[in-house]
Symmetry: C3
Subunit: 200 residues, 3 copies
């Protein structure tokens, strides 16, 4: 089992928690919350796989993804005091998820022979679509369209991932550096309230 | 023509009516309402087929599905007095639809070689996605996320379908028993206002 | 390079502008607005390609579509005075987009061997889905479900496209006539406030 795959399962797990956590705040029942967690965790990768024509999609072919999501349910229930009540934890879990999914999604697109520009776009799709679906189903304005730096962090990480890869860096090291970079950009931008220039 | 296929066409027809009925309440024009009816009827099965990689999707390959939907339009117009004004009828048509689509969707997933757990998930996807799209397009909180038992009824029916199938029961009898079971759970849970435990 | 392909790129360009323009009104940042422009421009064709099983979808296989969208960003910024502030321009760009996408989408479906009825439906899907996603992401009631003639214009154009094609008219002439027809129906229906009969 390689590092990227392990990271991808971790991303699935934490993204499911971000969905469960938001659903719990919306007063959903256990089952509805599990559905939200599932959709949040698989939405981005599923969209990527559909666009690439890589069907059946990853979580149908590989039972470990559904298992990672199911495990997130008791985890969230047990640690609910820490997860549900703190606003900050939601951003942490969401940010770890998009950091990992950007890089794993981009790598999968590169493996499918896409050029680097489109592979970056696919990395972003993998990272943000799950959260967008989560937010729409929960009737929230999608995080991606709020004012903080969000998809831009994914884009920056994807760009560095490509440059370091071209430069010949060890692949596993590259995964660690670039997922950390995305996470750091996200945390710093929230802490210092940084944002991109408005469209108008 | 086998029983499951006949049921699937019936499910398509009643689900289209549930979409038309909601659209009529939202003051849409005939054409917009027809679009909503169409999307409601095919949304779940289409999502299932896309995830499985079973493209082109069922209603493109088989003209009888679009015909069932088109027939729902004059039917709804003629019986509008009974369909549009009664709140209860909406739930009846929606419930018949999810009952049938759960079982037909699960059977299709089993035919594609999915394991029983994923096939159940696919049954639920087939059943609920059309209604979720209908509700989002009509700016309603999706039924699935309200407090009554909804997806849980599908899950229960899917589980019984699997168990009875393993036990060697006649397949057509199994279809009848399990779609009825889902419908009954749904009706009883609304009548007695039953609900699942909240996430938090 | 044939006429239909040139039109399709133009449609992509103007549809991206319609998305950027709406996003700018919603106070999004440059990046979020670009994402909205992208999704608006490719949403309909992507849905059509997924339903047909024509994957990877068109804009992954052909870099000219993403380029047309990226070019729409500086164009919108430079001419923002004319594009963003005038309510009318939004409808013009949206209407040019749906006119072109209806016909190019229908042609693609016919090339895939669909019967004329389904090909018309695919033309409409190609035309309206991008705008529906744009409106939902921007928290607007989708244009298609408001009271003016919208999808009906696409349907009328698609029908004439089929009839003229059967009648043996030159294909390029047919493209010009039918996209113009859709655009004219749309403009006239807005100018004179025409609408379809209500469902109820």
């Amino acid at each position: 089992m390689n590092l990227l795959y392990a990271l991808d399962l971790l991303g699935t797990f934490v993204f499911a928690i971000s969905g469960l956590r938001l659903a719990a705040r919306k007063d959903m029942d256990l089952f509805g919350a599990t559905v939200i967690g599932f959709v949040t965790a698989v939405g981005g990768g599923t969209t990527r796989d559909l666009l690439l024509g890589a069907t059946p999609v990853a979580w149908i072919d590989n039972i470990q993804y559904p298992i990672a999501i199911i495990l997130a349910v008791p985890f969230t229930l047990i640690f609910r005091k820490y997860i549900v009540n703190l606003k900050r934890t939601f951003f942490v879990f969401d940010s770890i998820g998009i950091a990992i999914f950007t890089i794993s999604g981009m790598q999968k697109a590169l493996d499918f022979g896409l050029n680097p520009g489109l592979a970056m776009a696919m990395g972003m799709v993998s990272a943000v679509v799950g959260g967008v679906i989560r937010d729409i189903l929960c009737n929230e304005i999608p995080l991606i369209f709020r004012k903080e730096i969000y998809a831009t962090a994914c884009l920056a990480g994807a760009l560095v991932f490509y440059l370091l890869g071209n430069w010949g860096i060890d692949q596993n090291l590259n995964y660690i550096i670039t997922t950390s970079l995305i996470l750091i950009i996200r945390v710093v931008s929230i802490k210092y309230n940084l944002s991109m220039p408005k469209m108008k």
